[in-house]
Amino acid sequence: MKAIKLSSKILSLFKRIVGEENVQISLAQRLAYSYDATAMYQSMPEAVVSPRNTKEVVEIVRLCNSQKIPIVPRGSGTNLAAGTVPTFGGIVLLFKNMNRILELDEENLTLTVQPGVITKDLIEHVEKFGLFYPPDPSSMKISTIGGNINENSGGLRGLKYGVTRDYVSGLEVVLPNGDVVRTGGKLAKDVAGYDLTSLFVGSEGTLGIVTEATLSLVPLPEYKETMIAYYDSLEHAAETVSQIIASKIIPTTLEFMDQATIEVVEDFAKIGLPTDVEAILLIEQDGPQSIVQQEMQQMEKICQQNRARKVILASNQEEAEELRTARRAALSALARKSPTTILEDATVPRSKIAEMVREIGKIASKYNVKICTFGHAGDGNLHPTCLTDARNHDEMERVEQAFAEIFQVSIELGGTITGEHGVGEMKAPYLEWKLGREGIEVMKKIKDSIDPYHLFNPGKIFAKSTKKRVVVESDTNSHTAKDQARV
């Protein structure tokens, strides 16, 4: 598929649908929507269109369908898999005018929202009513619920509460042919037909455009405690994680940061984290006070048994929030260290976390690249992050080899190539490693039947070609080559 130029006639049709002010076509505007949070991917859309309601979305989709114009739905562009880069041009579809919280139903414990609502606003809104929406990606101050749903995002509370999918009970979706489907509803149970809600969750904008979502809520836990444990050995920290899980405690949060990550985070947050320890665990539990206190004590003991240098309980909620905020800044803070930061999302069964951390270390030294690791340790979800320089081609090749090997190892340990960031364009060449040819085939059939012209977010999830396992050569698919070619 080649990028097409939009004629002035088509542009005026867009303007007629959404209003003059909601169609942006200047170079500056197109450039501002040519990237997301993924390093090294960039490509300009032909126009940026911001519908105000579902009806307008339908009209846009119909127009695009008739003219074969690609549509890239975009929330806040914080995804880390090049999921919103308009690689094939077309239009970027924004939801800045569809950002209202529509209804809080306290009887059914549901919240109905438009896709452009900022995650954190939504969380704070329901908390005012004593209710709780648990998925809290580190980007929640910026990310939209539409983006969260389409990436099936996780967060710091994922260990105990699960991910976005677990809280989406109904969707309104516009399909590539302009049909509007409503899936699910305010129901606790629903087995009428295929689980379409689940199909659209995590579909990365490739199957439908989410125009409304009904989310299920839970009661806000009455009490919460937060502690932090310092380790002189990375492995002891990882061991602690496995032991906590094995001892049948499910904490709300069990996060991990290694030394290099701690250093940059402290540099930014200045909250007095020690920079001479090898690892930190951030541990939280919520629920009824007596149980929380008891389990926190148990977990503290496990930390001590695994030779934590120190375990500190946050003395109040402000202190706890400082620690969480610091952890959330980890990825961006790592960007201080080098011109390019490339992060991965390898995930293994929880019991394998220590092994995985060890393997990442070995791989980094094997390829002589700098990898820092942090992540949702309790979920088995690590973010090995490579500090590199895209302009150094020799190093970039080694980085790519290192990541390929990390994927390979995590799959061998029973894991996956991405736990929460999605496939997008970045990981598409590796997807078959996880799913196998048959898995990819099923997905392709679904895609072809819903979006036969591949107009919804083309170039994402499905790769032109799959990477050869581990033996990596510098083919034309390498990110750097692509980057230069498309920009």
Partner: protein, 445 residues
């Protein structure tokens, strides 16, 4: 993409003046977005976000897109408030890149932004409206009479006027007698034990329009135990120049100030205007090409301190501060005091220590009021949008005094109070004036 000669020059200028490394510091996470007033007030338009502007600078530098009117518009709309910096975990130095970019554009395009604006205001706004014009003429006479005009012109003070001249006369302070100013001494000894020796940076605008504030500042410094020098040959800090792309004049002024202050070998260089203080603090960045000056600037930088910081350092609140009448107060941060000099808690602590004064935190106090130096004239529509939004939040505090630490913010808040019809129940004051007018002390003799 084909580019005009001007566009090519701008691209080359970016290559020379903005380091690729600085641009690459941005990993595009978007953490800065919610902190950016122009992003929020344009209904989340990425073109008007820090991440977007950095991407634009990078794209222009790389030749991906030319510097055209739309790109320029994005940078004109930027407040330069630098709220994006403390929000950025990657430590991106947006403010310095912005300044460099503006300097390049100004250099290549020659016409100054201030100049263009003043002309624009004159031709497009004033001369089209008889009423506006006569008001403006009144103002002008006013200036000529008071002799502020010359200085005002020099620093582009005209540009502090919002497009709608509405309420402007009311918010301007009574201009002090220039004779008094000349007769002020150059040294004031500490009252009581001498705890520190300081030099006072008077600031051009502060000293001409807010002489009383400066006099009170000196008085409080003395009481707090400072021996105060006022170097005669100090100059304007240069912030307004640099922010509008006149980097060269800013450098000249910076050198004069460094010279004027370093000869005194004082412990602190105290200022009472957040914008000036931040710019003094940032002097080392002006001298990236002149290492000798840079090291002198660094010594100078270490000494730059704002009034609330030094008062809290010297434990001024021990003087049993008490408001003469019970009063509800709130505080609007000066962007640069907060985001550049990182002075956040000091003024609040000082205000909270005052008995009888009930401090209410202003929701969004950390966000720019829309004054931003010359901004309220250049981008009056955005500026007024931000201001009106701010005033809604100010109203919620139920405060009767809105306290600020920067003359630009002070004028803007005064304008906001006028615009929202609150002038009978609320006033805006510089923190020093508030201490002076509302608060009593048990001072040492």
């Amino acid at each position: 993409m084909t580019q005009t000669v001007t566009q090519q020059k701008i691209r080359q200028g970016f290559k020379d003046a903005i380091q690729e490394e600085s641009l690459l510091d941005c990993m595009r996470c978007g953490f800065c977005l919610p902190s950016c007033p122009t992003y929020v007030h344009t209904n989340y338009d990425e073109t008007h976000s820090p991440r977007g502007r950095i991407a634009l600078m990078k794209a222009v530098r790389e030749g991906l897109i030319p510097w055209d009117d739309d790109v320029e518009h994005s940078f004109n709309v930027c407040l330069g408030c630098r709220a994006c910096e403390p929000a950025c975990p990657a430590g991106v130095q947006y403010g310095h890149m912005l300044e460099s970019a503006r300097a390049v554009v100004k250099e290549v395009k020659k016409t100054g932004i201030i100049e263009k604006t003043v002309r624009n205001v004159a031709f497009n706004h004033l001369f089209q409206d008889q009423k506006k014009l006569s008001r403006a003429t009144n103002l002008l006479h006013y200036y000529q009479r008071t002799g502020v005009q010359k200085i005002a012109r020099k620093i582009g003070f005209l540009s502090l006027f919002p497009e709608q001249m509405r309420g402007m006369e009311k918010i301007l302070p009574t201009v002090p007698n220039q004779k008094d100013l000349k007769e002020r001494g150059t040294y004031f000894s500490a009252i009581g034990e001498t705890k520190a020796t300081v030099a006072f940076f008077t600031g051009c605008l502060m000293d001409t329009l807010f002489t009383e504030t400066n006099n009170s500042t000196i008085k409080f410094l003395q009481h707090a135990g400072c021996a105060v020098y006022i170097p005669k040959d100090q100059a304007c800090c240069g912030a307004l120049h640099a922010h509008s792309g006149e980097k060269k004049s800013a450098i000249t002024l910076a050198k004069r100030n460094i010279e004027a202050f370093e000869s005194l070998s004082v412990d602190f260089v105290v200022n009472n205007a957040g914008g000036c203080g931040a710019f003094l603090h940032d002097y080392p960045y002006l001298f990236e090409q002149e290492s000798n000056w840079q090291s002198r600037a660094k010594v100078f930088q270490q000494k730059v301190t704002d009034i609330s910081t030094i008062l809290s350092k010297l434990e001024f609140s021990n003087f049993k501060l008490k408001a003469k009448v019970p009063v509800v107060i709130t505080y609007q941060d000066s962007c640069h005091l907060r985001n550049v000099t990182k002075v956040i808690s000091e003024p609040r602590k000082l205000l909270k220590s005052i008995e009888n004064a009930y401090f209410v935190e202003l929701d969004g106090a950390d966000q720019c009021c829309g004054s931003a130096g010359i901004y309220n004239l250049l981008q009056s529509e955005m500026s007024m949008k931000i201001l009106d939004d701010k005033m809604e939040k100010v109203k919620d505090t139920k405060a009767t005094v809105v306290i600020t630490s920067n003359p630009g913010c002070l004028l803007q808040m005064k304008l906001g109070i006028e615009r929202s019809g609150l002038s009978s129940q609320m006033e805006s004051m510089h923190i020093v004036d508030f201490l002076s007018d509302y608060v009593s002390f048990e001072m040492s003799e």
